[in-house]
């Protein structure tokens, strides 16, 4: 069972490494969107620091959204998704493997680049650490929830728009508590409550999303 998972993750990582452009798109989108704000809002450092948590989190949300419709699309078009569905391993587990790879390729780079962008917007060191931690817990939730939507809109014409409409509302709780934690850290308030809730979202999504996405894929290929 673990072997199959390892093969799947190896395959998706290898494919991504051979076509780096797709991974870089998400990352560059994140960097550019955040960089536009100082230009639009003005270089006033206090204003920027005030809006920084929201800006960074919304940009991360949209960036991870951007790559979602390709999560299953390639496998769907070349027929490997069929083979995954009729694999002798539980589909939910394979889906979890795909989500994990997706996060490694699109979520983790955002976490790693976020300190630079945080500094750009004038966040202090403590807030930046909190920002990284919230993104570290929050972005997997985005990938997990997104996978259910990606499964449901697979093969639908204009699925990209539908996916955004379906998924963005579900991202709201993560956005509120993610940016809330950074804001609380910036103003010197406690952040435990925010982290507890983000952690709860992650655990819930880890358990439910792969099952939901697996069911969605079965429906899409019927």
């Amino acid at each position: 069972m673990i072997k199959v998972l390892r093969w799947l993750i190896w395959r998706d990582l290898t494919l991504a490494m051979r076509r780096k452009a797709e991974v870089l798109t998400t990352l560059l989108f994140f960097v550019i969107v955040v960089s536009l704000f100082p230009l639009g809002v003005g270089p006033e450092i206090n204003t920027l620091a005030e809006i920084a948590p929201g800006v960074l989190w919304v940009a991360a949300l949209l960036a991870s959204m951007l790559s979602l419709n390709r999560l299953f699309a390639d496998d769907y078009h070349d027929g490997t998704l069929e083979q995954l569905i009729i694999s002798s391993q539980p589909l939910a587990l394979l889906v979890l493997g795909k989500i994990l790879t997706h996060w490694l390729l699109t979520g983790l780079p955002l976490v790693l680049i976020s300190p630079v962008l945080g500094m750009q917007l004038g966040l202090d060191a403590n807030s930046i650490i909190i920002l990284m931690l919230t993104l570290l817990i929050g972005t997997p939730v985005l990938s997990l929830i997104g996978a259910v939507g990606a499964g449901l809109t697979l093969g639908v014409r204009g699925g990209g728009v539908l996916l955004s409409l379906l998924i963005l509302p579900l991202y709201i709780p993560v956005l509120i508590f993610g940016s809330g934690a950074v804001d609380a850290a910036r103003t010197g308030l406690g952040v435990e409550a925010h982290f507890s809730l983000l952690g709860a979202f992650l655990v819930g999504a880890l358990i439910l999303a792969p099952i939901g996405a697996a069911a969605a894929l079965r429906i899409s290929l019927d």
């Binding site: 799947l8 290898t14 076509r19 069929e82 569905i85 694999s87 019927d222």
Partner: protein, 210 residues
């Protein structure tokens, strides 16, 4: 024994076939015939567990495959219309990863041998992107050479293959039947197998005869 019981398939509001009953024993090959759009691929997809039948069920050793799920899939090799080949992986990687994901891990040596046998010698390390349609098809079909599955469900396996490859594929099919395997396939081409017994099923519009 693989059984189809009172199978009905509908696409949209069109009924493709109803009350389809047949069973397949070890060493038997079933050739599903019919005009385009008569439901051949749908039947194969239902048998593979990819699609839900409107009515009826498929039974493997008297148990519904919907209940068996993974236990049934272990015994199954399904090769559909789409080759399931990743353009950015080499032929060798494609074969190994597809097998592993199907639950049948093979060594690198086994994969080399299979690809050599299916006529891709010297091309094992090329990305599938640069292979021709027929060669990509061969990479997909190489799975049959290393498969341990009992039931093979093949949708148009002869498409895009040259005469030599067709002959070789027929040998592979015969071999599988000799080892008490079962095969269900669709093709518009004529083919012969030297082993096992060949059975046919005609899917017409709204009716089917075995």
């Amino acid at each position: 024994m693989l059984e189809c019981v009172n199978l009905q398939c509908t696409r949209g509001d069109r009924t493709l076939f109803t009350d389809l009953n047949f069973s397949l024993n070890e060493g038997e090959i079933l050739h599903v015939k019919g005009v385009n759009g008569s439901g051949k691929t749908s039947l194969l997809r239902i048998m593979a567990g990819l699609m839900l039948a409107a009515e009826g069920e498929i039974r493997w050793n008297s148990k519904n495959i919907r209940k068996l799920r993974e236990e049934y899939q272990k015994d199954l090799l399904y090769l559909g219309h789409l080759p399931g080949i990743k353009a950015d992986l080499t032929a060798l990687e494609n074969l190994r990863v597809n097998n592993a994901l199907g639950g049948n891990e093979i060594s690198e040596e086994e994969a080399w041998n299979a690809l050599g046998h299916i006529g891709l010698k010297g091309r094992e390390d090329l990305p599938a992107r640069v292979l021709s349609q027929g060669q990509q098809r061969r990479v997909a079909l190489a799975r049959m050479l290393v498969s341990k599955a009992k039931i093979w469900i093949l949708d148009e396996p002869f498409t895009a293959l040259d005469v030599k490859a067709v002959a070789m594929l027929q040998d592979v099919l015969s071999n599988h039947l000799q080892q008490q395997g079962m095969i269900v396939l669709t093709t518009h081409q004529d083919f012969t197998v030297s082993q096992g017994s060949l059975r046919m099923i005609h899917l017409g519009l709204n009716e089917a005869t075995v």
